[in-house]
Amino acid sequence: MSETIVAIKGLRHTYLAGTPLAAPALRGAELTLRRGEMAALIGPSGAGKSTLVHFVNGLLRPPVQGQVWVLGQDTGDPSCDLVALRRQVGLVFQYPHQQLLERYVGDDVAYGPRQLGLTREELRRRVRWALDVVGLDFETFVDRHTFSLSGGEMRRVALAGVLALRPELLILDEATTGLDPRGRREIHALLRRLRAEEGMTILLVSNDMDEVAELADQVTVLHQGRTVWAGPPREVFAQAERLRAWGLLPPAATELAQTLARAGMPVPADVITLAEVEEALWQALQA
């Protein structure tokens, strides 16, 4: 078992506490991430996913209740260097246009690393690397206006801007929502590559259960600000009833397998990807 890099326990958070507009967001959230894993955080809208992720990135700090340990630091400790922490924990926002801060793509990708005091050549190398990783050609894109990008390109540039800081932990807050199927598949391939080649730990916040089944090896379920389940995706998605109670649906593949099983086909109920359904069907038909 590899090293635990994020440990959040019993976290409670209320926006604007003590005022008439107080809005409780987290009421006992837990999250554990191990180095090198691809984890997913799922839950219905308003479950507190984005709030929890902001705690991991140090955008929010623990209030009275709860502990947040990220990369060996207690972010509730006033002496904790949050800027250094944010360099190691990259957060890709849900809406890329919110993350683009400069007029030109090259400047925007360089925005983070520029604060690190790198030489010009090193900075240029990083920008080139980051654009290359997300599949954008350096020469073509470096001088493009950020406002003239398409939605998919904007998302890639936002991702490149975070990757240019070379984070150890990469968090994507619904980063494939609104992408076309091909763009989505490309991002999935990219995430797999980052994990394999760079050893990045990745946390996906997602509402797409097919995506989660496809990519994640650990799933944390958040419901009304509480962590209600944490484990491998196969275990989570096998519990159709519970999932419904949390306002979630199993992946399409699991639903298909369960329907087939009800119709009398000898298909196991705990498959989660279409490839597994295909395999199970193949075996059932051969038998």
Binding site: Y15, A23, H54, L59, R86, L91, F93, Q99, G112, G161
Partner: protein
């Protein structure tokens, strides 16, 4: 270093749901009473009258059961500006100015810096006036939902329609401006978060380090304006998509009806104005 959050919950000008006598008043009553009290505050230049007005406003705030934090938050952002204005007033108070209290008696005279009792006196009156003004607006917006405010304003501006003044549109613009305060707060928060998460150092937001803050503000203003224009454009599309065509022939879910409490409130507001004018004539400081 504070965490970067909470701006979306800016409380300036936001409605605080409640069921106090002030909440229940007709929006027109509140608008007229506000205008009367504002006029009373601005028409008098005595400490006693402004102090009396302050007490009246405090009583109204108590009656509305508005939380203290809400009102504090509506004064706080203006505080640095107010203090600078007061400092200027104290320092550049014309010593020849006639005033009943100390008649330009010098307290400190140090080169060009001269602080007179009269200057301090005038400054404290100005401070009280500004606080009254901010509290009154906080009281109005805190107890009246934006929709009701628009409707009330529209009704009050109706006589001016004959002169070609677009009452509905003016009221609507005001309402949208109020509605945009939390929206822009939210955008600002997101931009700050985007900068922070890409390792920009943002020390605790002390509003007193003006030069430093100005520099940081410049980096925020451009993305904020881009976002504001984008929002405005989206809003106009949404209005067109729902066939918005101004106030003509538009009906309301709640029609405004004056109740006896409204007449009472207007009467009391008028009495306050009369009282303030009387106090002004008395030989008080």
């Amino acid at each position: 270093m504070a965490s970067v959050a909470g701006l979306r919950y800016l409380t300036i000008g936001q409605y605080v749901p409640g069921d106090s006598p002030i909440h229940r008043l007709d929006p027109r009553t509140k608008l007229v009473a506000l205008a009367l009290l504002l006029a009373a505050g601005l028409a008098t230049a005595k400490l006693a009258t402004n102090l009396a007005l302050f007490l009246v406003i405090c009583a109204l705030v108590g009656l509305a059961r508005l939380p203290f934090r809400y009102l504090r938050s509506s004064i706080q952002p203006a505080l640095p500006v107010i203090l600078v204005l007061l400092a200027l007033q104290v320092l550049f108070y014309p010593s020849a100015h006639r005033d009943p209290a100390g008649a330009g008696r010098m307290l400190i005279s140090w080169g060009v810096l001269r602080v007179s009792a009269g200057g301090l006196w005038a400054a404290s009156i100005s401070l009280l006036r500004l606080i009254n003004l901010l509290l009154l607006f906080g009281l109005l917006t805190g107890t009246t939902p934006t929709g009701a405010l628009t409707q009330g304003l529209e009704h009050l501006l109706r006589p001016l329609n004959a002169l070609g003044l677009p009452g509905h549109e003016l009221a609507f613009v005001g309402a949208i401006a109020l509605r945009f305060v939390p929206i822009l707060g939210e955008s600002l928060e997101t931009i700050l978060q985007a900068q922070a998460s890409r390792s920009v150092r943002q020390e605790a937001g002390t509003r007193w380090r003006l030069a430093r803050n100005a520099q940081r503000t410049a980096a925020l203003v451009v993305p904020l304006f881009v976002e504001a224009y984008r929002r405005a454009e989206e809003l106009s599309w949404a209005m067109q998509a729902r066939c918005y065509r101004g106030g003509r022939g538009r009906t309301h879910l709640r029609t405004l009806v004056f109740a006896s409490a409204d007449y009472l409130a207007l009467g009391l507001a008028a009495c306050t104005v009369a009282g303030v004018i009387l106090l002004q004539r008395l030989p008080l400081p």
